[in-house]
Subunit: 134 residues, 3 copies
């Protein structure tokens, strides 16, 4: 992917939110997970380095299904400004799911862990920003 939207230089994004159940086993720290996700997003050529903003939200109160099985999940939401085509959006989601998937281990008893990424477009026409300082 090439960086072909210079107007985005004025509109800092993307925003990535990674929700992760507290029983999820990672091969690294959450900070390192964010580093990997940010590096993957930077490699797309779609974003400026300082603009990629990510966070982990650890879920301590969660339920998966109704059977009270020992299950874990990771769900990421990637928020980008609208205007990119579907293939680009899908590729961005794949970059994120692959970065996360490499760092997630199966559950203690070998259970599967669902890793999902939802790509959401933010409305460019009504997006507001303000840079403080500098």
């Amino acid at each position: 992917m090439r960086y072909s939207r210079p107007s985005d230089l004025m509109v800092p994004m993307p925003h990535l939110v990674i929700e992760i159940t507290e029983n999820t086993r990672l091969t690294c720290s959450q900070e390192e997970l964010l580093d990997e996700a940010n590096a993957a997003l930077l490699s797309s050529g779609q974003f400026q380095e300082p603009d990629i903003k990510s966070r982990c939200i650890t879920l301590s109160t969660f339920r998966q299904g109704t059977e009270h099985a020992d299950r874990a999940f990771v769900h990421a939401t990637l928020q980008i400004l609208d205007g990119r085509d579907q293939a680009t959006r899908r590729e961005l989601g794949q970059l994120v799911v692959n970065a996360i998937g490499e760092m997630v281990r199966p559950g203690a008893q070998g259970q599967t862990v669902q890793v999902t990424v939802n790509v959401v477009e933010m409305e460019r026409a009504t997006f507001s920003k303000q840079i403080v300082g500098g």
Copy 2:
């Protein structure tokens, strides 16, 4: 509602996020609230049991209005893949709001508590998933 979207078998969802102000009085634990919500969603026939993923986020820093009254609220966001019709989406939201509403008590001085549910569609064409382990 019948389960009529076999393609969803490959795309685990829904995701339910319940934000709850810390002063909200429940008749049960947050885990039990999630159990009830998941059971309600399962009863719709729209989803597979292991795929219903819910969490509570307790809000400790919040404000409702500008009058500093003692107010509480619960706001749920139900994320489902796109393609279901409006009647189905509304019915899913109703199932969730009813499940939550049964578990919420009025405030300590009898105040009303606003319980709301927003149904959001996730773009199927760009949704990414990876199953780790199994």
Copy 3:
């Protein structure tokens, strides 16, 4: 802006979520930040006072870019029911970004802080609510 949507009287909103990295320097408390944001939203004339519901989420695990620089950001999501025109949505976002921007200080070493506001429409036709008590 005038309040011209009486049907909203029955559908309590907006919902404002302010994510704030824990290293962000404010000139006030987070509660006061929410007070200012709610007052700004009320001044728009678009909403009823008791219906404006805001919260801060402090981000303790975050990364901005890939260079491990000392950076901070604030990202707000304003959720309103659909039906308002683009100019109104943009104005609402501007009210919020201005309220937040006034309370954010540059980083300890004078770094810039990115403050962004995303305005999201919630689907009115499928939105569910329940008022408990009263």
